[in-house]
Structure formats: C-alpha cells, structure tokens
Amino acid sequence: MKVAIIVFPGSNCDSDLHYVLENLCHVSAEYVPSTATSLDGFDAVMLPGGFSYGDYLRCGAIAALTPIMGAVRQFADSGKPVIGICNGFQILTEAHLLPGVLKKNDNLKFICRPVALQVENNATPFTTKYVKDEKIHLPIAHSDGNFYADPATIDELEQNHQIVFRYVDQNPNGSVNDIAGICNRRGNVVGMMPHPERASEKIVGNDDGFKVFQSLLTLKH
C-alpha cells in the first residue's frame, strides 16, 4: 500500500496525514506536489485540509485547476480510493469529482471543536471498519463547511446512500440534511469536513478517526 498525499500551496494537514499513515498505519506515504501530473504507483490518494491558494475566489476553486487534479480524476475514474478532508473535500467538489459545494457556515464563524457524527455508509474504502450508524466524535475546523446542493441532487445522494457521515445532536454549520461527508455514486471518492487525522491515537484524547485509515488498509494491494 502506497498513499499519495497531494500538497497544494496552503495545504496544512499534509504532515498530519503523513504521520498517521507512516507512524500509526505503517504504510508508505509520499507527498505529491500539485504541479505533478502522474499518480502512477499509488494505491490511494488523499487531499489534505488547509487553505489552498488562500481560499481565494472560493475554497478549493483554484486548487481544482492544478495539474495534479487531472491525474486525480483519472485515478478516481479507475475506481481507486480518493479522500478529501476539509479543504480536500472543497477541492473535490470544485473539481466536480463530488457533487454540491461547501458554503460559508450559517453563523459566518470559523468553528473549531469536536462534533458528534453518525457513520451512515460503511461500504466506502474509508469506512468499512465502522459499524453502520456508529456514533463517533471528530474535530471540525472550518469556515466553509456548510454542504449545499439543490434538492434534486440531495434526493439522489440520499437514495444512492452517498451520505457517508452526518452530524448528530447538533449541526454546526447549517449543512443540508446534516451532511458532514459524502461519496460519489461508485463509492470510491469520499469527501468529509471533519478531520479523522487529528483524532487517530489515544494520546491526543480521541482515536475515533483512526478507522478511516484502518479501513483503507484492509484493501488488497
């Protein structure tokens, strides 16, 4: 298993992902700059959180046009696993690899705190280690995490079981149907606003996110 961590100008959760993959999962992780054009030899791709291109224009909009995203699209089209976390999720929507968009939070504030989530779909490459409807806690840290899509798209997401994580107890940002994470129709591309890489070992107080990475390890390569 060899995982690509895409690094955009302004990514800031790339080394957290690298730490979890190399030190806790004991798999090979490599930084791939957004200027690269190939993902040959990789088994999974992760788009980290951060503020790519300073969130200029719209979060993720500029990063979605970088050379590596052509390779990410091919990688995703071949059915291999891709996950975007926080800004990575925003980039995947701007690149049209996932539907919808992440709007400014309804309260217009940057929100940084743990939230309660329910695992709605445990059939993606990043959620098989969870039990369906399992309740977990993960930190969020975003200003623009308010998932929005038109009602027809939301219906489609619901009917095809493309909602992967949903906020429970309280919706922090105003997202439609309490959506915290979704996947594409095929299930191999996942985007989520919460940060599993920041909650992957007990020493930080919470390891509810570790199963995202453990799930990936169960894939045969």
Partner: protein, 82 residues
C-alpha cells in the same frame, strides 16, 4: 482592449447569511424601510479584443472559473474600450 465587469451573486434560493446580517444591522441603525440586502462580488476584467472574441472569453471564464453554479449566477457588462 475591452473592459468588462462580471457580477456574481447567490441564486435567490440560496440562504445568504452575510446579506441577512447586514440587513439586520441596517435596521438596527434605524433604516426600517430596508427590506433585504444581498451580498455579491464583481470582477473587473481587461481583455484583448483584437480578434473580436473578448465577450465570449469573459463568458467562458465566468462559467469555468468565476462562478459555482451550485450556488451562484452571474451577469456581465462592458465598462469601456481602449
């Protein structure tokens, strides 16, 4: 060279929390006749029009980059010509 201004605004169906907050502030200032304020953004773009394609280029750019059609709509106007 032609100058264009592209306006990007939320679709009417999309909740605009900034607009709502500013509307409330206007009412707090005593402007009770203010019924709604909507926030948008504009881009001033200068384009070489030697081949007569400037307007088409602006439209393409708006649709590929400046606008997210999940949320937003746009319109543009020509500001001037050098």
């Amino acid at each position: 060279m032609k100058k264009f201004r592209v306006y990007v605004t939320y679709k009417p169906s999309v909740f605009d929390p900034q607009g709502d907050t500013i509307t409330d502030a206007a009412k707090d200032l005593g402007y009770q006749t203010i019924q709604a304020i909507h926030v948008g953004k504009f881009f001033d773009i200068e384009v070489d029009d030697s081949e007569g394609t400037a307007a088409q280029t602006v439209e393409e750019l708006a649709e590929k980059l400046l606008v997210n059609f999940n949320l937003e709509v746009y319109r543009y106007e020509q500001l001037g010509e050098d």
